[in-house]
């Protein structure tokens, strides 16, 4: 089934905004409605934003009124550093129940549900397998409130899938997300001048790049893939390796015994070490990501490349600080842009970079200036000319133009 009318929950999360942006580009999707309890964080063209409470209790009316056929649920809180246990519970458990209630029931138009979950579902324990496959259950019952919530939410989704055979339900369990834009407890840890680790432990870590999070969600929305899927980049690094790639020092400042107490002591210093994070700093976790790859999804970054990208961003951050004005959501402005007959919709919101025109060579816009060399060498003169025109219209990077000119001169 192809999705036409899509409802996104958690629109204001990073991947919510990015996914909405990606879906806007797809022409077969005629309606995109996003809900969240906070303001959206990205400028969106045709996505309708509706503010809802943390419990999402009125969702059913929106689903019915807009004849939604696909619900993408990205509202789960998976980092205990960013919400109190009470709020996380409201959102994760009660919210999931309400989302499911909105999707189900007689006469429901919903045919597809994509649920963004977390690898915290598996927990972190010393007797874990090195790579969790989708069919494994955690060896111990959840110990932290966040893990309990995630397990409960997933169980509710699984029950829903069982009871509604005509809805295609996909659950994606994401490894720790890392990237320039996404805030997380681990990101905060890596931003410290020296990274505290637990003495005597070097846990295995697997990350997934923020672009791949969006990519995986989009892949599952477009392909029909009911079932459970782990999402984590290729490669599992040791924490020492990660810190090394980031160019930081590791400080075994946390004692192996009484780690929780030590975490409580450093909390006033602004170092937030949640219970899930402490378990990960001790035992680590790896996911078997092959099932999703077997469905045709290709990761753009391995775990190592993800960490390197972050390292690059962290080096640039002090230079780029304050360069771009962050997006602020103003309801009236958005209303005007969408509804007013005086707005020329072509010009209201120019897309970044490409001005709406596609590059003459596939994948060109994704390449960095340094990566162009081999591409240019392989192109015919006509393509090069078209590419020069495209570059002049979009980025007009001086060095790139010079490189194209040089390549043209060589023909």
């Amino acid at each position: 089934m192809s999705s036409r009318r899509v409802l996104l929950t958690g629109l204001s999360t990073y991947w919510g905004g990015r996914l909405a942006e990606a879906l806007e580009a797809s022409e077969e999707i005629e309606a995109i409605i996003g809900v969240d309890s906070r303001d959206p964080t990205r400028a969106l063209e045709r996505t309708e934003f509706v503010r809802v409470g943390a419990q999402h209790s009125l969702l059913r009316r929106i689903v019915e009124a807009a004849e939604i056929d696909t619900v993408i649920d990205m509202r789960l809180i998976v980092d205990s550093g960013w919400a109190s246990p009470g709020r996380a519970h409201e959102n994760n458990v009660i919210g999931t129940m309400n989302v499911l209630a909105a999707c189900g029931g007689p006469g429901s138009t919903v045919r597809k549900l994509v649920f963004k979950s977390s690898a915290h579902y598996y927990g972190c324990a010393q007797d874990d397998p090195a790579f969790f496959t989708e069919d494994m259950e955690r060896p111990h019952p959840p110990r932290t409130s966040l893990e309990r919530d995630i397990v409960e939410a997933e169980a509710a989704v699984a029950d829903f899938a069982e009871q509604s055979p005509d809805v295609s339900v996909s659950i994606l369990r994401f490894a720790n997300v890392l990237g320039p834009e996404v805030r997380s407890s681990h990101r905060a840890l890596f931003d410290l001048p020296a990274v505290p680790v637990v003495l005597g432990f070097d846990p295995r870590y697997q990350f997934v790049h923020e672009d791949d999070v969006v990519g995986a969600l989009e892949h599952v929305v477009h392909a029909d893939l009911p079932g459970l899927f782990n999402v984590g980049a290729d490669g599992v690094l040791a924490l020492s390796e990660v810190i090394d790639l980031l160019g930081k020092r590791m400080v075994p400042a946390l004692p192996p015994w009484g780690t929780g107490l030590a975490a409580a002591i450093v909390r006033p210093l602004g170092i937030e070490l949640g219970p899930e994070m402490l378990a990960q700093l001790r035992y680590g976790r790896g996911l078997d990501n092959r099932l999703l790859k077997a469905t045709g999804f290709a990761y753009r970054y391995t775990t190592r490349e993800t960490v390197l990208k972050l390292a690059e961003h962290m080096r640039l951050a002090p230079i780029l600080r304050g360069a771009g004005e962050p997006y602020r959501y103003e309801q009236e402005v958005e209303e005007f842009l969408r509804r007013s007959p005086h707005v020329n919709r072509r010009r209201a919101r120019p897309r970044e970079g490409a001005n709406g025109r596609a590059a003459p060579v596939a994948g060109y816009d994704d390449l960095e200036a340094g990566e162009l060399g081999t591409l240019l060498g392989s192109l015919e003169a006509d393509d090069l000319a078209a590419l020069r025109e495209h570059e002049r219209a979009t980025g007009a990077r001086v060095d790139v133009l010079a490189a194209i000119d040089a390549a043209l001169a060589g023909r």
């Binding site: 874990d128 009911p226 390796e241």
Partner: protein, 319 residues
């Protein structure tokens, strides 16, 4: 249980099969029932997809110094060139027979007798393959997951090629990555064995190793090690200290605990003899559980018989 000699060793043919079924970790992990929760169609689709997932294993990144299991070529090589080399050639003077029984390609499950407090036998078997085999390959040594909870050990053991002995780990190494895996089927019972019980094999767990080999469709190579029992003998277990420190074993050895924690790794210079036996394939038909149990028992009997033969042949423990 050890009064009647080898023939009455604790084999537990009675309850083993029954317990196999109740222990969730023994169950075939691939098409596990847990997934049944999330809609029937999903499960079948997932299993069809699982068929050939080996193609989708992550590629090797040459810039990395550690493997996905946390293994470090550098640290392993360092230990290999120094400590393992010294122990292998000079301290234990290892004598190896039948190294050609270890396949040069594909996965294989090596099964050995276990001994001692912090047994050096695993390291010596790995070293033997590296030294004597025409196509040396890294050996993955299965260790108790308890080590993952000990600071220091948790950091060091994976670097040296040790992997927690989870059935899923064994499966991935044997089937997906087609590598060599060394397993001590006696498990914890083997390392807690006292000196007076030396070379008498404990029960081989519940025969999980046979089902691992069958699932991965790899041969089982039995390995017999003589000398390790004398190199690190355990005279007694100090129950009170064990309870007090919360460790899973607190042995009394020639050097431990009175010479400090490092005393546990102080080995006597016994002569090591390692013999690799003919590989066997597990073809379980009919009643699978019973067949696997039979294979496990056969492997155990063979190792036991060879051990007695090897101990009988040697003139001296030390030379």
């Amino acid at each position: 249980m050890d009064r009647g000699g080898p023939s009455t060793l604790d084999v537990a043919p009675d309850g083993a099969a029954a317990r196999d079924r109740t222990d969730p970790r023994v169950d075939d992990r691939r098409p596990a029932p847990a997934n049944g929760r999330c809609s029937g169609r999903a499960t079948t689709a997932a299993i069809e997809l699982r068929e050939d997932l080996r193609r989708h294993l992550p590629g090797v990144e040459p810039e990395r110094r550690l493997s996905d299991w946390g293994r470090s070529e550098r640290i392993e090589g360092l230990v290999d060139r120094t400590l393992a080399d010294f122990l292998y050639h000079h301290w234990f003077r290892c004598e190896v027979e039948g190294i050609d029984k270890v396949p040069a390609g594909g996965g294989a499950l090596l099964v050995a007798n276990d001994s001692g407090a912090l047994p050096p036998d695993a390291a010596m078997i790995a070293k033997a393959i590296r030294e004597e085999h025409p196509h040396p390959r890294p050996l993955h040594i299965m260790v108790e997951h308890l080590f993952a909870g000990y600071p220091g050990f948790s950091m060091l053991l994976p670097k040296l090629g040790c992997v927690a002995s989870h059935p899923a780990n064994v499966q991935r190494l044997l089937y997906d990555e087609e590598s060599l895996v060394l397993l001590f089927p006696e498990g914890r019972k083997g390392t807690r064995k006292l000196y007076r019980d030396r070379y008498r094999l404990r029960r081989f767990g519940r025969g999980e190793f046979a089902s691992s080999a069958r699932r991965a469709d790899v041969p089982i190579v039995s390995v017999c090690v003589v000398g390790a029992e004398e190199a690190a003998p355990i005279f007694a277990h100090i129950g009170l200290l064990k309870r007090f420190t919360g460790r899973w074993s607190f042995p009394l050895t020639p050097a431990f605990p009175h010479l400090g924690p490092l005393g546990a790794a102080a080995y006597l210079p016994a002569k090591f003899r390692i013999r690799f036996l003919e590989p066997v394939r597990v073809d379980a038909g009919g009643d699978e559980r019973a067949a696997l149990q039979t294979v496990a028992e056969e492997v155990r009997t063979r190792i036991q018989a060879t051990l007695f033969e090897m101990v009988g042949e040697r003139d001296s423990v030390w030379l």
